[in-house]
Amino acid sequence: MDTTLDFTTVQTILESNAEKVEGLIESYVDKKEQLISLLQDVQAEFNYIPKDVLVRISQKLDIPLSQVFSVATFFQAFSLKPRGRHTITVCLGTACHVRGGQRLVDKIERDYGLKPGETTEDERFTLETANCLGCCALGPVVVIDGKYEGQVNPEKLDKILKKYE
């Protein structure tokens, strides 16, 4: 990653979302240790973590950029790339895995050319996997934009995904 401070890009993000970004970071000024929460909030706001915001966090909270970057890339929940309009989360926890969760991931890869963590070119879907969502009885479980779908098979998945444009 380019670690030099590129003020022109920082400028563009600040132009369109200045208050939001500054406000978010501002609320964490005395709470450096809650970096993970801050990144979660940023991601909730923008759907991903823009590089410029990472830089701004580092400047404002006085945390080395290397540390911000390492946290943002270590945890599965964070994405540094823009994500699709709809997020598909396929559970691959043990129970869902045994019940065929992987087949759903394979199907999505076949149909949409998506691997876990990737986004379709038209930004329609982002595919993610999770390790146990806590409702194994309904496995395999797929969550689309926060809506849980239980006992999903490839055929059912096809029908569900068609509803999301």
């Binding site: 240790e33 809650q34 390492s70 946290v71 270590f74 599965q76 146990c132 969502l133 194994c136």
Partner: protein, 348 residues
């Protein structure tokens, strides 16, 4: 009546007496003879469509103006996710499974108002092929004795007053007024309570060693970064009865001399996060958290941290690293966390 007492107390409870007064007024305002409808609102049942069932009940009750007659609540996880959405009709605890919104008017007419059982919604015991009408007769529940999750089907986790009415926070008031920190630690040691994480470390010994370290700052950490598939006791308790966790943390904090606690919960459990957050807000409003808890002079705060989706963060040193805002990688432990944990301070 409850409203009056609440107003009088300005919500924040300042003493044990205030708490008992509030508890009594809540209990007095409850008509114990009312029919109860309890719909499971845990993650499993929600995924199976429980929210639509909850809405249907709310609508039906309003349409027939049964608000006074029926005590309707959405509770935490009942445990039998495979047969969800689950609806239990009290006081006899008639057990309905796989309930759909269309079934709701019939349940209200037949079961709630007339007391008749609707056979089609009953659970069929796979061993005997017979219908089972009552929750206690379902084989899944039959041999269970629920201690920690016992109140899950009984209380609405988003309402602190239901927890108070079920004797909640009475252990805290006892601990703060009738017991010294040493006595609490002894009690925990004598109870034989052990950690639930697999190692089974004796809880009393942990509390004792954390208490013995002299330090201005100590932390209480609740590890709810549960990764074991298919178990989710952490999820169930934070979703269904978050105040019991908070109450336990306050007692632990009081006995070791800590003023700051953390609950580290997985972000994959959005409902547990939401209910915990709500419970913390309510506990603070009512004076169970913050400064001078119940007039005892003891201060304690709890912050919620959401995990970032890394399985390894359930391990204590990795969890602590991630609480400190670093990447959640475990490191070798040469000293117990109870002596040197979060920010190198003693941590429970």
């Amino acid at each position: 009546m409850v409203e009056e007492v609440r107003k009088l107390l300005d919500k924040r409870l300042r003493s044990i007496k205030d708490l008992e007064k509030l508890r009594q007024s809540i209990l007095d305002s409850k008509d114990t003879g009312r029919m109860t409808i309890s719909v499971c609102g845990g993650t499993g049942c929600r995924a199976a469509g429980a929210e639509a069932v909850v809405d249907a009940f709310a609508e039906e009750i309003e349409r027939r103006e049964l608000q006074v007659k029926v005590n309707f609540k959405e509770t935490g996880c009942h445990g039998f996710c495979e047969r969800g959405p689950i609806v239990v009709i009290g006081p006899d605890k008639i057990f309905y499974q796989r309930v759909q919104p269309d079934d709701v008017p019939e349940i209200v007419t037949e079961t709630v108002l007339k007391g008749d059982i609707i056979k089609r919604l009953l659970y069929i015991d796979p061993a005997t092929n017979k219908e089972v009408a009552y929750e206690s007769d379902v084989t899944f529940y039959k041999k269970q004795t629920r201690l920690i999750l016992g109140s899950n089907g009984e209380i609405d986790p988003t309402d602190i007053e239901q927890y108070i009415a079920a004797n909640g926070y009475s252990a805290l008031s006892k601990a703060l007024t009738q017991m010294s920190p040493e006595k609490i630690v002894n009690e925990i040691t004598n109870s034989g309570l052990r950690g639930r994480g697999g190692g089974g470390f004796p809880t009393g010994r942990k509390w004792q060693s954390c208490r013995a370290v002299s330090s201005d700052t100590k932390y209480v950490i609740c590890n709810a970064d549960e990764g074991d598939p298919g178990a989710y006791q952490d999820r169930s308790i934070l979703e269904g009865n978050p105040h019991s966790v908070i109450e336990g943390m306050i007692i632990g904090a009081y006995s070791i001399g800590s003023h700051q606690g953390y609950i580290y919960v997985r972000n994959e459990y959005p409902l547990a996060v939401e209910h915990t957050r709500l419970a913390l807000e309510q506990a603070e409003d009512y004076g169970f958290l913050g400064e001078n808890i119940l007039g005892s002079g003891f201060d304690f705060k709890v912050t919620i941290n959401k995990g970032g989706g890394a399985f390894v963060c359930g391990e204590s040193s990795a969890l602590i690293a991630s609480l400190e805002g670093k990447i959640g990688e475990p490191k070798a432990k040469y000293i117990h966390m109870s002596e040197k944990g979060l920010w190198d301070k003693p941590s429970l």
